[in-house]
Amino acid sequence: MVKMSNKVLIIIPAYNEAESIEDVISAVKKELPDAGIVVINDGSRDATSSLSKRLGATVADLPYNMGIGAAMQTGYKYAVLNDYDIAVQVDGDGQHPPDQINYLIGPISKGKADMVIGSRFLEMGEYHPSLARNIGIKIFSTVISLITGRKITDTTSGFRAVNKGAIRFFAQNYPDDYPEVEAIVLLCKAGFNIMETAVRMKERTGGKSSITALQGVYYMVKVLLSIFIDMLKRVKR
């Protein structure tokens, strides 16, 4: 059923994103004036929390740096407690342009999918990854597509929207360290419907990528291992 007015929550996980967080929040408010915004401040040592509060965002300050997975899950728990219908993940570093959020929400509010992933690769965009990164992306895409039985081109994209059922699921089950890829597997195992939609992403405006070149290989191995462990896990919906 299509509800006329869905309560939408924008979840912005942020770790030391003082340089970019204000632009992200302002842009979200401009694009979606009715949406709730919760910034999950993951133990930042800079002004991330106070800057966000000044702009009127709700801020949840984690007591210590708990990692991106625990931070995202905090957002989902907040969404459950406040009865939101749709939750959208937007990075605090400015790489996810808020004017693209409606492309993610659209299929969800029409009931076409439980989770919509914003993909950089469905249409030729400005994003040109390095060769090594490109190989990693292809491997993930192939593995995930095989497991889920549907084509997922941008498995590491953290720009996504989920409906109420998936919000509840993520509030109970969310991976810890590099959660984007694993979350797809868990959601799929629990029988949720996942689709991709083309979005434009920006170069980050502040901060550094959470993955340096040296960590790339470690990241790949760890995520692939985690995927296989996830395959063994019992998942309760």
């Binding site: 709700t58 210590y64 905090t74 728990k77 907040y78």
Partner: protein
């Protein structure tokens, strides 16, 4: 009595006394001490009762019976470490949940305070 048996008995008794003392002083909770106690008791039994040690060694193809003590100790250590991994995983999950709930409670408390001020 061979020297190796004397050493094994002294070691097992020492281990048992140490564990019991730690439990008595409340430095290990009983549930975490259970595997330690079991390992100390079984090592002590095998050290004292040479006949049993020889029998098991013979049955399992171990040529030098006292080395069976090492095998038993090693298996217990494996079990204890595995047990710890399970406990640590459980703790970190609970710790995460606590941190998340504290953050959400603080947020909602501030919202509530702001609502009351208006």
């Amino acid at each position: 009595m061979q020297l190796v048996q004397v050493i094994a008995i002294i070691f097992s008794v020492g281990l048992l006394i140490g564990i019991v003392d730690l439990i008595r002083r409340g430095m290990i909770k009983e549930q975490y001490a259970l595997l330690w106690l079991a390992s100390a008791v079984i090592l002590l039994i095998l050290s004292v009762w040479r006949g049993l040690l020889d029998k098991i060694a013979l049955a399992t193809g171990i040529a030098y019976p006292p080395s069976l003590l090492f095998l038993v100790a090693f298996l217990f250590l494996l079990l204890i470490v595995l047990h710890f991994s399970v406990i640590i995983s459980d703790f970190s999950e609970r710790n995460k949940r606590l941190g998340q709930e504290v953050a959400i409670l603080k947020t909602m408390f501030e919202q509530y305070k702001k609502g009351n001020e208006k």
